[in-house]
């Protein structure tokens, strides 16, 4: 596996733990927290993807100035 793939996998692992703890923090009942986990993880990853896109656009736009 190349470096990018490994980094993406590691990011996914860290994201899963962050989202799980966030779900526990905001949902007092375990069942609700576990049920909310997949949707929360998708939202988190989508948010991160948007952030990556914004950073890349900024880099290409402003880095050469």
């Amino acid at each position: 596996m190349n470096d990018l793939g490994v980094h993406l996998l590691l990011f996914l692992v860290a994201s899963a733990v962050i989202v799980l703890m966030g779900a526990f923090y905001s949902e007092a009942a375990d069942g609700k927290a576990f049920r909310a986990f997949p949707r929360r993880l998708l939202v988190f990853l989508a948010g991160c993807a948007v952030l990556v896109a914004v950073v890349l656009v900024c880099e290409h736009t402003f880095a050469a100035l």
């Binding site: 490994v6 980094h7 590691l10 692992v13 860290a14 899963a16 733990v17 962050i18 799980l20 703890m21 966030g22 526990f24 923090y25 949902e27 007092a28 009942a29 375990d30 927290a33």
Partner: protein, 280 residues
């Protein structure tokens, strides 16, 4: 003449009790009239700090690189949890002389003890805050729960949840956080376990409690004699695991607080069943 329970435990402002305890261990309890508990807390917390200071020669903050040294550079360290002792150390020893000098023989043990005193004092301050909010003496047995659950969670992630009877959540927190820390340590080939090497990341990692301390004692001296490909992700993983344990501590505190004070909490209050008809 006031009732016996009022004579025994004067009630005070919770925030002031916590603030006093932060500045001087046990002072918050003494302010509340719990002199014995306060003195015991003072002896344990300050004893750990000054033993640690004796062992490390006050050189903890000499771990910081020269370019990072400034008035507030050390504020993000566990020792800041024991504010009075922290200020004393900064005033008395500071960053040491301008040249590098050899570390004392028991430097790491001393550093662990001073750090431990900071965390212990934060837990003591939490307890003082709760003690000030207790309405009567009968509350005292239940009062231990939230502060003790927070202490357990710091010591072993998830243990506070198990202590509160929330086993599934406790096991999940343990697997997630300790797993992340172990993965990080493996990726970084244990290079993340040195406060000298990573002063600030170490501070975050220390919030994971016993797993981080045990790993440091076992593998902290591993030499770094080659380039480690995933050192940085590993370092970040260890730090994130410690920081996320703060969320777990807040979670057990909120649960214990609601249980002890009879406050509304989603777990404690079952959802109302839909009613077909309104009572007349």
């Amino acid at each position: 003449m006031p009732p016996a329970r009022e004579r025994r435990h004067r009630k005070g402002d919770p925030n002031l009790a916590a603030l006093l305890g932060w500045i001087l261990p046990g002072a918050g309890h003494i302010y509340l009239g719990r002199v014995g508990f306060g003195l015991l807390g003072f002896l344990i917390v300050e004893g750990a700090f000054y033993l640690g200071l004796h062992l490390n020669g006050g050189m903890t903050f000499e771990y910081l690189d020269h370019e990072l040294r400034s008035a507030f550079a050390t504020a993000l360290s566990p020792e800041a949890g024991n504010l009075g002792a922290f200020v004393y150390q900064m005033k008395t020893y500071g960053f040491g002389p301008d040249f590098r000098r050899p570390w004392p023989e028991y430097m790491e043990l001393g550093v662990l003890l001073t750090s431990l005193s900071g965390v212990a004092n934060m837990l003591l301050a939490v307890h003082a805050h709760l003690a000030a909010r207790s309405q009567d003496e009968d509350f005292a047995p239940a009062l231990r729960r939230p502060a003790l659950a927070v202490a357990f969670t710091w010591l072993v992630p998830g243990l506070g949840h198990v202590y509160q009877g929330r086993r599934l959540r406790g096991a999940s927190v343990f697997v997630a956080l300790v797993g992340l820390f172990v993965l990080g340590t493996w990726l970084a080939e244990a290079s993340n376990l040195s406060r000298e090497r990573h002063f600030y990341y170490w501070a975050g990692q220390y919030l994971l409690g016993a797993p981080a301390i045990a790993a440091e004692l076992l593998f902290g001296d591993t030499p770094v004699d080659h380039a480690i490909p995933f050192a940085e992700p590993g370092l970040v993983f260890g730090c994130i695991a410690g920081l996320l344990n703060v969320l777990a501590m807040i979670d057990v505190f909120a649960f214990g607080e609601a249980e002890s004070f009879g406050l509304p909490h989603k777990t404690l209050c079952p959802e109302p069943e839909p009613q077909a008809e309104t009572a007349t």
